[in-house]
Symmetry: C2
Subunit: 335 residues, 2 copies
């Protein structure tokens, strides 16, 4: 092939928000594939808060991206060459494709998806790792019961918006926390949450008091910091707190802010449990089935916030940390 | 009766460590009892870190002690008058007797104990709420498996020393954390822990790395602060953290220090769960039975640190917060 493969490589470990010089925008020939491999033309890249963590040289659930390596990213695309028996040219797949226009992957490491059921980008959101994250975090750890109150931070974001919808499908009340009137309107009117607290407009403690008069039974945290503390102060007895992320802390240049109100766990016999979706690798099928059925029945609103232009990657990624996305942020890379 | 009832009442809400002027040492006549009540001559008072929390005017699992009220305390004593059919003069009982020499209680609210099985003071320690706290926190929340590593802070303290012993009885490894060589020697040599890290002599992170090469499976926290953070940094996958107390924070005049390393829960799929022993009110019988059997078989070392002199209460209580007790701190009030 004569096409050029544009890539973003990690040039330096960021301090605080990633800046342009932390990236190297390079060109390479589109590689040949070996036995068992496939070549994927990347069409969408998933932009996720977790990517910030992958850029740090710290021990975590996955090794950091090395300096000079193509930035790790989930993506969706079309197979344009295959030497794997189970994957054919023309198949649509998702996987860890990296921030590049063409990706070589083992055919067993990508997942085939059906664009007749849902548009390709949905497989990065509601029907992808984002949706699975919401599903397992809420249902396996949070275990909401009918009539319980589920509070979700980052409710207008990719994971948060799905968490509240699943909570409603399971008969719980869903209260979102988001920044700004527009996001809150989206959370209530489009996603169907019972309420959404605009933490920029209203004291969180007042809002939580108003919308959770019996306390919070399940709190799904995507943000950390003062929002986590405010939720801890309002826990009901036997509450379950799910630590899915801490976007407010990922670019901190000082120590992470720990939750001062953690002793609320003690007085309320409550728990705080963390996870990453890869912990549920063996059970993704269950989630795909139930989420797929809800989606097909029109019971899950799936909204992607689609940015365009491969070269905008560094700037588009920052929208996550500035709270500028509504729904799942994806970067459209090709047609 | 002509005897005088000396009492310590809460005179002011302490800021930081309780000071002498926060207490009022008063005398009152020994009260008459009504139907269903018993009069107990207090022989031992239990001094517990939780008492500091009861002195604050904050919403918690139990209402605060009011200004002018006798300070709340668990105690053990002898019944000297009874108008309750199930309790006789001469019975030994434990209960919330308060910091006073004579207590009136409902006969149904005290627990009869057998001083032929164990000395009275043991019913405030290993066979009392202290032991039950260790038992349920470790076994119900921590659920240690054979061969797992259990780390306990405050290991030379009342609860911590029992936690490690129960961990050993259940086939786990027990690693203590305590302040000072003498305490650590006690924890290993007398209580039988596998190891004890002297956090005053050695970097905690180094000590935990040395004694927990595969990480911490169960961490039982009595102290909070930097020790909690050090333990969080060393969690194994699926670790269980038990929040029993936070003695390092109880006298803080600034905000409680939250655990900066709480995101270790996320990367390790770990949980942090709090409790107070009263949550297990309905199950105290199970614990009393198993703990009693271990004690009778000589499998549980029970050490009380006995201070004497009712009037020394304010100063003796401070020993807890200065780390000056080894084993269960009790105040001997009478003979």
């Amino acid at each position: 092939m004569d096409a050029v493969n544009h890539q973003f490589k990690l040039a330096a470990r960021p301090v605080g928000l990633p800046k342009p010089s932390d990236w190297e925008h390079t060109e390479a020939p589109v590689p040949e594939i070996g036995d068992g491999e496939v070549l994927v033309k990347v069409l969408y890249l998933s932009l996720d808060p977790a990517m910030r963590g992958w850029m740090n040289d710290t021990r975590s659930y996955i090794p950091p991206v090395g300096i000079g390596e193509v930035m790790r990213a989930l993506g969706a695309g079309e197979v344009i060459a295959s030497k794997h028996p189970d994957v054919a040219v023309g198949d649509h797949v998702t996987g860890l494709l990296g921030v590049q226009e063409y990706a070589v992957a083992n055919g067993a490491a990508v997942m085939k998806v059906d664009t007749a059921v849902a548009p390709l980008s949905v497989y990065l959101g509601t029907l992808g790792m984002t949706g699975m994250t919401a599903y397992f975090g809420l249902l396996d750890i949070g275990r909401p019961q009918e009539g319980e109150t589920v509070v979700v931070s980052g409710a207008a974001g990719a994971v948060g918006g799905i968490v509240g919808q699943i909570a409603k499908l399971k008969g719980a009340r869903a209260v979102g926390i988001a920044g700004g009137a527009e996001k809150c309107a989206y959370v209530v009117q489009e996603l169907g949450f019972d309420a959404c607290i605009d933490y920029k407009a209203q004291g969180l403690d007042v809002g939580l008091g108003e919308h959770c008069p019996k306390g919070i039974d399940v709190y799904f945290d995507n943000v950390g910091g003062e929002i986590l503390d405010a939720a801890l102060a309002r826990l009901a007895r036997h509450a379950r707190v799910i630590i899915c992320g801490a976007i407010s802390q990922y670019n901190a240049t000082e120590a992470v802010r720990g939750p001062s109100n953690y002793l609320s766990l003690l007085v309320n016999h409550a728990s705080m449990t963390g996870f990453v979706v890869s912990d549920y690798g063996a059970r993704l099928g269950e989630a795909a089935q139930e989420m797929g059925a809800w989606y097909a029945a029109g019971k899950l609103v799936s909204r992607e916030d689609v940015a365009a232009g491969f070269e905008s990657f560094p700037e588009t990624l920052l929208r996550l940390f500035r709270g500028q996305n509504t729904g799942k942020l994806v970067l459209k890379v090709g047609d």
